[in-house]
Subunit: 135 residues, 2 copies
């Protein structure tokens, strides 16, 4: 049983490592949110940068607070509705810091009996002056 | 101890679920490869599609076999060298199925004492006739 337990820890650490390497390697901005509480479970550096926040400060904070003019319940309802809608549906929003116009693409899933949202955050095309400037 | 064990299983399953949701949600093609054996540990659907393979068949197969003109040792050496090089370095390759020109962007890390590569696969710009066609 001790052996099995140690193997479990090893396996868990391996998944943990793979998960974090993947989070930081994808070129998409991603945030995991607990659906019940509306709080951020995990965010990658790209998502934190888009929201003008430190990645570690973001963990545990209310996701809706990062956007202008959306109350917590309203934001979570909009995300949940978009997640279960047919086709690819997004929620438009404006970041509180920096006032960037973004679209949120939520995916709803269940982990350890708790509903969770994985939210991709896309900055609207043409918002970034750098990538918009043509030679 | 039984409680702790159950909590470990729960935690592991949760990471497992999050990992797979993330793998299938990113818009990048990703493959995890065991550095020692050169075999595919995990691939997402986008990566499998780029390689013209079924995702499940890909798991456990030799990564180098998916490309033309690269022997296994040579491919793993090239990926490892690119992973430790300064700046963003890629390995050019041509897929065996479909003959697509791609660039491989490897990241080297250690999980459970084993070295692993996470490889992003980008299809070369202009290769896809659909996205290349201007109105």
């Amino acid at each position: 049983a001790q052996m099995a337990l140690e193997q479990d820890y090893e396996q868990q650490r391996e998944y943990d490592t793979r998960f974090h390497v993947l989070m930081e390697s994808t070129r998409d901005a991603f945030i995991f949110i607990a659906q019940g509480s509306g709080r951020v479970v995990e965010a990658n550096t790209l998502a934190a940068r888009l929201l003008g926040r430190d990645r570690n400060d973001l963990t545990g904070s209310a996701f809706a607070q990062e956007f202008d003019g959306r109350r917590k319940g309203e934001m979570m309802d909009a995300l949940s509705a978009a997640a279960v809608a047919e086709g690819t549906t997004s929620v438009p929003a404006q970041t509180r810091k920096g006032g960037k116009n973004v679209h949120l693409y939520p995916i709803l899933f269940r982990a350890s009996g708790e509903r969770m949202l994985l939210c991709r955050i896309d900055q609207n095309a043409g918002e970034n002056a750098m990538s918009d400037a043509l030679p």
